[in-house]
């Protein structure tokens, strides 16, 4: 009960336009690391901007009843850089042991009120989206759609002038 209330409070605190990056989790051990407060992204495989206030997690087939869906997110607290062998010292001979990774330090996991399933799409990589879209999406493909609630940035005379 306590967890439920604190979770709701966290969700209420997140602005709808907060940038969220949906990341893929393929192994249970990696999800344990997320619960422990961190997530890694290889520098050499990033094709989208990683800038996000929150990371959300798409769980693949390894997660039984929670598979093929996004159910959790966590606030990004800090970002570091490390080699894989530093992050996962018990896998020193892994083929990517000397690859460099961003290490995202995360806040506690927050459960979404409604999971976002992937009914058809299975090959998911990173999806830049917003918290508002995460709340309203009915399927993971909706996360790519621009949010109708998201106004375009005003430029000509209607607000940019307040910034400089």
């Amino acid at each position: 009960m306590h967890d439920h209330h604190s979770n709701s409070a966290f969700l209420d605190d997140i602005p709808a336009d907060a940038p969220v990056l949906v990341c893929v989790v393929t192994r249970v051990a990696d999800f344990d690391r997320i619960r422990a407060g961190w997530y890694r992204v290889p520098l050499d495989r990033v094709r989208v901007p990683l800038t996000a206030s929150y990371l959300a997690f798409y769980q693949t087939a390894a997660f039984g009843a929670e598979r093929w869906s996004v159910r959790y997110l966590a606030a990004v607290r800090a970002v570091g850089l490390a080699y894989r062998y530093e992050l996962i010292p018990d896998e020193p001979c892994h083929p990517r042991a000397t690859a460099r990774y961003y290490r995202f330090a995360l806040g506690p996991l927050i459960r979404l009120p409604v999971a976002v399933p992937s009914r058809r799409l299975r090959r998911v990589t990173f999806i830049p989206t917003t918290f508002g879209q995460l709340l309203t999406a009915r399927d993971i493909v909706d996360l790519w759609q621009p949010s109708p609630a998201m106004p375009e940035i005003p430029v000509w005379g209607a607000g940019v002038n307040a910034r400089v």
């Binding site: 336009d17 940038p19 800038t51 940019v160």
Partner: protein, 313 residues
């Protein structure tokens, strides 16, 4: 060759723009903000923009995140990554603290706060491994009518700053009380290089110095081998909409000294004409539409002054 640059915000990439607004929240860790800076530098690199003013709020407030030195130490790896990317992409970095960071202030407390802030930004540039051309641009500041006293206060306090901070400071005339001559006077006392601001020069040129001469005087204050920084923007002439709560936006006339959204290309071409024969420098475009204004200015130069294409990048 003149490299054009932009200040802090990115408008041409919607996601970066929104993320930047979120990460300017006081609680964001320096390393998180630096991840945004890396994405911003990638965007600049893709658009061949080689001069960038870092946001002045990269360091979180001390009461929330610890001392600047602690924050810099905690984000060392990301600082190294950002600095390395900037160098490999040949993007010159610069900083410009908020207008209140003025070492010439009459209040000792205000000046002490200003100098601490300037020192923290200088430390940030050092941690990024930025070259000597990466400066912290400040105004003289100081209340009351005695400008000479403010210049002297600045000069005295400058001597009290650390060598690391002193190496990074550059002074910019403010377009109101402290014009080009006051900045040149401070340069004579301290050796601080002067950032020429074309718009501020227009706003406050009481001595009626010619543009070319004024620009040349400022450029001459920079050490040999260090490309000077110059600022350019034009007066806003249009009315704009001001939102007041949830009510109907009000139409507001432009203020004197208000920057325009985009750059008047003909004023910029006149400025380039005045710069002919002077040493090379880089130009920070201080228009409210930021990168959109720079890209538009490049288009305008192609249309109206093709002779400058290739010389101005």
């Amino acid at each position: 060759m003149i490299y054009l640059g932009i200040a802090a915000k990115i408008l041409g990439h919607a996601r970066l723009s929104r993320a930047g607004a979120h990460q300017s929240e006081a609680s964001a860790h320096l390393s998180v903000r630096l991840l945004w800076v890396i994405e911003a530098l990638r965007y600049l690199d893709a658009h061949n923009i080689r001069f960038y003013r870092l946001p002045d709020n990269l360091l979180a407030p001390e009461d929330r995140a610890g001392t600047p030195a602690d924050q810099i130490a905690a984000a060392a790896a990301m600082l190294d990554e950002v600095g390395s990317y900037a160098r490999s992409a040949a993007i010159r970095l610069s900083m410009h603290p908020h207008p209140g960071a003025t070492p010439g202030a009459a209040s000792e407390e205000t000046a002490t706060r200003a100098m601490a802030h300037i020192a923290s930004l200088a430390a940030l540039l050092d941690a990024l491994g930025a070259g000597p051309e990466s400066v912290v641009v400040v105004h003289i500041g100081g209340e009351g009518g005695d400008c000479a006293a403010a210049v002297e206060r600045f000069a005295v306090r400058f001597e009290r700053m650390s060598p690391a901070a002193r190496r990074r400071i550059a002074i910019e005339p403010d377009g109101e009380r402290f014009g080009l001559l006051a900045a040149l006077r401070l340069h004579r006392f301290t050796g601080i290089p002067v950032v020429f601001d074309a718009f501020h020069f227009q706003l406050s040129n009481l001595e009626r110095i010619g543009l070319s001469e004024a620009l040349g005087l400022a450029l001459a204050t920079w050490s040999p081998g260090v490309r000077p920084e110059v600022h350019f923007s034009t007066q806003r002439t249009e009315a704009h909409l001001k939102r007041a709560g949830h009510g109907t936006p009000q139409v507001v006339a432009p203020r004197a000294g208000q920057h325009s959204d985009f750059v008047n290309p003909f004023e910029f071409i006149a400025f380039l004409n005045a710069a002919r024969g002077l040493p090379p420098f880089d130009v920070m475009i201080e228009a409210k539409a930021a990168d959109l204004a720079l890209l538009r200015l490049r288009d305008d130069l192609r249309r109206y002054a093709p002779e400058y294409v290739g010389w101005v990048v």
